[in-house]
């Protein structure tokens, strides 16, 4: 193998050779630069390969032929190899990316680039402290040189600020080095770390402090990092990529190397500085509008996160490398990719990224990088975060874990907001004249290639980390692969993909249905078969429908993996996948940008609560089977319960965390609304089911937690129903109604008795059927009328009779009126209530019940009855493919109404193993409980016979009834002629609003808006710290040093 020294030698040699070349031979110079970088990359790659495939010990390289302390030594181990590979690759790719700039600036710029990469590689390889100093100074000088590559004149100022700071840093570092040498007699890092004298003497301790604080200062810790942000904002994006991906990685590795000098006392310092930087950077990134500065804040934050992890290495054990490298490469790949992408975009605002929509592949790269950065599956950061949470919780470091998750959530907030802009906003007009294809986008193979490489690397590293995790590679999971296959097949017409999707879902169900217990079978049927039925409506969409199928299938893959998960990791991974997929789906709606954002934020917040809950439950155990939750003991158990329940509540949109749902469901596309309402919400209930099955009821400070859930369920039912009453938008009405329905289901589960669970199951099935049906019919109507405002419709019953029938059956089923299936749900509810000791929440539940009639009547009346509008006189029934699933649902509802035992009976029997008492008796057609009885077939027959008899009687006495025209009504002696003034629809329940409107005060919305405003304002306030004056930045640095010193003194 080639010695690692050649990495440095090649760069230096090439830089010297460049000096010998004539100025005009730029092409040759550029070729030489690329060759050198390519060679360096190849050397690193061979080392990585060697370490990965053989059990090679780290190789020491003695430069002067003698071991330390008499000469400088370098080391090449797995970590060094991987990082130099990263640095060299980024260097190579950036050199490619910089082709035009380098050719224009000539050999000097190329030499500086080579030196910069060499300095970074040197930082990684060297084991000598003074050598480290030299490489750091080289890095500083070359950085200052490379900043000048930028076309942005402001970069000059940024470079000078950097030089000021690096001067101060080098003063600190040199003094530290010389005194440390004085005390220990060596400059070798390992020798110094092993010298007991260093920390024993006062001088030694101060020397160690100066060395470490100087190195940490190079990591851009908050608040001494204003200079770095200026560089990120103004430097050439290719240099931004190097600065973020390569410099950050190299310096953090140096810190990791040198940290043992300071002893164990420095670990908390590193953690503290790191986490503070992570939190504040993300906070400050919130109000940013410049893409590169935003990326800068994010980079600084990510390095802070890695520093915090470095500080935790005492507890991370063997997983330390897996976690630290996972986070590091995630940031490196994503940031390099994003900076390169930003170089293709002409304008600097966040909305300017909307031009990426012209290039689906670039958009895909963009979203991949964002997901990598946030640490979503299947990327390395996801595995790393899981292990980190597991180990931190195992050591009881929950505060740190909470801070990390909070920071990540804020980061996800601004990153996905940005993605929303890119997908939904119009780019700012760059120039006058018509927009042309490719406007605002600068492309070229030398720019596309690095981005593509980063994209491939992101997925490759995801695969690698999955492989290393020892937890089953997500990228090998069949459902996920199936979903990802649609990325490749996205060029096919929509109907082909739709057929494939339906085939995949039903096929998977047929293959696996025998593996589920009855409870899971119900969920599997809803997810897979139910999903297929909804997908029938997707045949309506023509064209290619780019992006729809990967997103939808990602959601379904997540859902399937959720019910198939047996351990906490699989569950959590599936949870995040389905969240991600559904986010993309929701984002497709025309006006859904803010709602999709609030959806993903609540969902991720919930997911992090789940992560923390699982981590707490596992107590550091490598594997946590889901039924292992049952073994969690006091005093942890109730906290685990609270965290998991919070997470699941975000998905069921329980009151308080419900505010994302109405917009997300209402603004989604016609066939997406039923997916995210009828199907997706069930994931939260499934989570609750798993939680309650394994953990049962828990008490926290004497409060029964299931009792709290009861209240939440009841209040959700009330708030959901009440809000639905006052909506003018049909889909929003249905969306609020879902909040109420999920409240009922949660209430049932929280009752913790046999019938309560049966009631929840009944609600789960029913809600899927009728909410999917209603969303489809309302979607069909909205498609035909071009509006979702109910008061602008009316009288559609004659034009859209099938949609009307679907809505009619749907509202009878929801309201629980016999003889349809909703009644069964109510009957079980009452029996379940009687079986429990609960009293007061029942009042809320009873109050919520009849309110459903209000919004349901409003829905059917204002849309289908009343006066037909002039502009709607010629519209037709909804399209066939949208009506077809509705008719299937109607049939299902009728069948379930007559023979509910078909499904319920099995579940009822199965529930006996959890609650042996209080099941139902199934004798013939009669269903009876301990308290009452119910005979669905009799009811249907009796009602049918009475109805038919009376109908026949009316037909007989009223056989000559004449149909009349629309306005043939008695109307105060006048003849009305305008449907708009005759159709009573707007503000339909005005008296009700007067009486109970105060209950709909949007307290939750105000609360969350208050929180986001607070964060934004705090970020906006704190970022004024960065005045832009280089001198102030130097003050910040000194203040930072003094503050850390004082805090250490105090500790």
């Amino acid at each position: 193998m080639v010695s690692a020294l050649y990495i440095l030698a090649a760069a230096l040699g090439a830089a010297f050779l460049l000096g010998l070349l004539r100025e005009e031979r730029r092409g040759l110079a550029y070729g030489l630069t690329l060759a050198a970088l390519g060679f360096m990359t190849w050397v690193s790659a061979t080392w990585v390969w060697a370490f990965a495939t053989t059990a090679l010990p780290p190789v020491e390289i003695f430069t002067a032929g003698t071991p330390p302390p008499f000469a400088i030594n370098l080391r090449m181990g797995m970590g060094e190899a991987a990082l130099t590979l990263l640095v060299n690759l980024v260097g190579l790719a950036s050199a490619l990316y910089l082709k035009e700039t380098l050719l224009q600036l000539g050999r000097r710029a190329m030499a500086v680039l080579l030196i910069a990469i060499m300095a970074l590689a040197g930082l990684i390889l060297t084991r000598d402290l003074f050598n480290l100093f030299v490489f750091m100074e080289l890095m500083a000088i070359s950085t200052a040189g490379l900043i000048l590559l930028s076309a942005d004149s402001r970069a000059l100022g940024a470079g000078f600020k950097y030089l000021i700071v690096s001067q101060v840093v080098s003063v600190l570092l040199l003094i530290g080095i010389i005194f440390a040498y004085h005390v220990t007699g060596t400059l070798n890092i390992d020798g110094m770390a092993q010298a007991p004298a260093l920390l024993a003497t006062g001088i030694g301790a101060i020397a160690a402090f100066l060395i470490l604080i100087a190195l940490i200062a190079e990591l851009k810790p908050f608040p001494a990092n204003g200079w770095a942000l200026d560089i990120y904002e103004s430097a050439h994006p290719a240099y931004g990529a190097i600065f973020s991906a390569a410099s950050g990685a190299a310096v953090i590795f140096a810190v990791d190397k040198v940290l043992p000098i300071g002893g164990a006392a420095w670990l908390p310092v590193a953690t503290g500085v790191g986490i503070a930087t992570f939190l504040f950077s993300n906070l400050l990134a919130l109000p940013q509008t410049n893409d590169r500065r935003l990326l800068g804040y994010s980079s600084v934050g990510q390095i802070g996160l890695v520093l915090a992890v470095v500080g935790q290495r005492d507890v991370l054990g063997e997983a330390y490398g897996f976690i630290a490298f996972g986070l590091l490469v995630s940031n490196a790949v994503a940031k390099a990719g994003l900076f390169w992408l930003s170089g293709t975009i002409e304008q600097r605002g966040l909305t300017a990224w909307a031009v990426l929509r012209q290039r689906p592949l670039a958009l895909f790269a963009f979203v991949t990088f964002l997901c990598v950065l946030v640490g979503l599956p299947p990327f390395p950061g996801f595995y790393a975060k899981w292990e980190l949470a597991r180990l931190l919780a195992g050591e009881g470091r929950m505060a740190l874990l909470a801070a990390i998750l909070l920071g990540t959530l804020i980061e996800a907030g601004y990153l996905f907001r940005w993605f929303g802009y890119a997908i939904k906003r119009e780019p700012e007009a760059a120039a006058e004249g018509p927009r042309m294809q490719g406007a605002g986008l600068a492309t070229g193979w030398n720019r596309a290639l690095p981005i593509a490489a980063a994209l491939v690397a992101a997925w490759g590293l995801g695969f690698l980390w999955g492989d290393l995790s020892g937890r089953g590679n997500l990228l090998l999971a069949l459902p996920l692969l199936f979903a990802l296959a649609f990325l490749v097949l996205d060029w096919l017409p929509a109907w082909v993909k739709n057929t494939l999707a339906i085939g995949g879902l039903t096929g998977f169900f047929l293959l696996t249905w025998q593996e589920y217990d009855p409870l899971r079978l119900i969920f599997a049927a809803i997810f897979l078969i139910g999903g297929s039925v909804i997908l029938l409506a997707s045949y309506e969409t023509k064209g290619r429908r780019i992006g729809f199928y990967p997103s939808a299938m990602l959601m379904y893959a997540g859902l399937v993996m959720l019910i198939r998960a047996t351990d906490a990791f699989g569950f959590f991974a599936a949870w995040e996948l389905l969240t991600l997929g559904s986010y993309f789906l929701i984002l497709r709606g025309k006006h859904s940008e803010p709602h999709a954002l609030s959806y993903i934020l609540f969902s991720l917040g919930g997911a992090f609560a789940i992560l923390a809950g699982f981590a707490l439950a596992g107590q550091g155990a490598v594997h946590l089977p889901l039924d292992g939750l049952a073994k969690v003991a006091e005093p942890l158990a109730p906290w685990v319960f609270v965290l998991l329940a919070l997470g699941f509540m975000t998905k069921t949109a329980s009151v308080g965390v419900h505010i994302w749902l109405p917009g997300a469901h209402a603004e989604a596309e016609t066939d997406v609304s039923p997916m995210v309402s009828g199907i997706l919400l069930k994931a939260g209930l499934y989570g609750f089911l798993v939680l309650l099955m394994s953990m049962g009821s828990q008490r926290l400070h004497g409060v029964e937690l299931t009792h709290v859930l009861l209240w939440i369920g009841a209040l959700s039912a009330l708030v959901g129903n009440l809000m639905a009453v006052f909506q003018e938008d049909a889909k929003r009405l249905l969306a609020y109604s879902s909040i109420g329905q999920m409240g009922y289901a949660l209430f049932g589960l929280a009752l913790m008795n046999h019938l309560g669970w049966l009631m929840a199951i009944m609600f789960i099935i029913n809600h899927y059927v009728y909410k999917s049906m209603l969303f489809l019919s309302v979607g069909g109507v909205a498609k035909r009328t071009g509006t979702r405002d109910m008061y602008r419709m009316g009288g559609l019953v004659k034009l859209m009779p099938l949609s009307f029938i679907a809505v009619l059956i749907g509202i009878i089923a929801i309201s629980g009126v016999p003889p349809l299936s909703g009644f069964g749900g109510r009957w079980i509810t009452y029996n379940a209530l009687l079986d429990s000791e609960v009293r007061l929440p029942i009042v809320i539940l009873f109050l919520a019940g009849p309110i459903a009639f209000l919004y349901l009547f409003r829905l059917i009346h204002t849309v289908f009855l009343g006066q037909l509008k002039d502009e709607h006189r010629r519209i037709k029934e909804a399209p066939f493919w949208i009506v077809l699933p509705q008719m299937i649902y109607v049939a299902v509802l009728l069948v379930v109404a007559v023979v509910p035992g078909l499904v319920l009976r099995h579940v009822d029997n199965y529930l006996d193993r959890f609650f042996p008492q209080g099941g139902l008796e199934w004798t013939g057609t009669v269903i009876s409980s301990n308290y009452g009885y119910w005979n669905p077939i009799s009811i249907m027959v009796i009602v049918g016979v009475i109805f038919a008899t009376l109908f026949a009687w009316l037909l007989f006495v009223n056989r000559r009834a004449q149909p009349v025209k629309q306005f043939n009504i008695v109307f105060s002696g006048e003849r009305p002629f305008r449907p708009e003034t005759t159709h009573f629809a707007w503000n339909f329940f005005a008296p009700y609003r007067k009486a109970l409107g105060f209950l709909t005060t949007p307290l939750a919305t105000r609360f969350w808006e208050g929180i986001t405003d607070l964060l934004h304002n705090a970020g906006d306030l704190v970022r004024r710290l960065y005045t832009g004056n280089g001198q102030t930045y130097a003050y910040h640095l000194l203040a930072f040093v003094v503050a850390v010193y004082l805090i250490r003194l105090g500790a």
Binding site: G795, V797, K798, L808, I811, S815, G816, V817, P818, R826, W827, Y830, N831, L834, R839, L840, I842, V843, L847, P850, I851, F853, L854, F857, H861, L865, G866, Q867, Y931, G932, Y933, W934, N935, S938, I939, V943, I946, F947, L950, F951, L954, V957, N958, A961, Q962, P963, V964, Q966, N968, I969, V970, H983, F984, F988, F989, P991, Y992, K994, A995, L996
Partner: protein
Amino acid sequence: MPFDWMKIPYALLTLFIVFNFGMLLNALIQKIGARVGRRYGVPIWQNYADLIKNYGLRSSITHGVMYYLGPVFRLTGGVGLLLFVPTIYGSEMFSNLSFAGDLILALYFVFFGTLGMALGAGESGHPNAAIGITRGLSQVTAAELPFALAVFSVALQYQTFSITDIVAVQQAGFTSWTLFTNPLAVAAAMLSFLGSMMRPPFDVVLAPQEIPIGPPTEYHSSYLALMQTNRAIFPIAKIVLYMSLFFGGAASWPVFFLKVFAIYMVSVLVGVAFPRFRVEQSIRWFLIWAVPLGVLSIVLV
């Protein structure tokens, strides 16, 4: 399960008795109301006359299918409600079709007719129909709540949803009536009862005196006749429920007539003495005065 076909003629007999009783009772109540207002009032057979006249009317129009079916829904609701509840305690003959379901069925079937009616009236396109329905629905959400709580309280008290069982427990003398064993529940239920009888102060839904409003606005001839038939049956069916749950039920027809009359009179007495509430006022009234009683009855039972 073999079906006892004799149940059908028996049920029809119950229906016949209740229908006639309801026709007469309605007229009587109207008359009492008129006399309190110093008017003479209608003759006792007036409702029969109206009914025959309406069935006999020839002019007849329809606005559509739902409009046509509205009264059918309405009457099905009334008849169904009556037949799902055993009328006379201890009598196999007048236990009607209660084998199909218990108290909960009766509670929810109340809405069947209301819903169908509302849809039918809605199709007529008359704004006043819709306004009446929104008022009615708004009021019912608040008015039904104390009743639901009271019913649940009674079910808790007796640990059953079977109406027959509930009546059975109350047969040991009138002190065993729910009225005395669970007075809070009964109080709550009776306040709710005022709201559901379409009499003042809670009759703004129909507002029969001032303007033609609510579902009957556009219905005429045989449609109206069907609804009038229901008007005779439905209140009685509902009172039967109250009677069975709270006042010991009825073991014979005379007791039945007496108790139904007495219960009906409660709403009449209140009705003639108080002016009308607006909808939001009545909602607040129920929530402030009736619901706390219901809550107490649930907590204390």
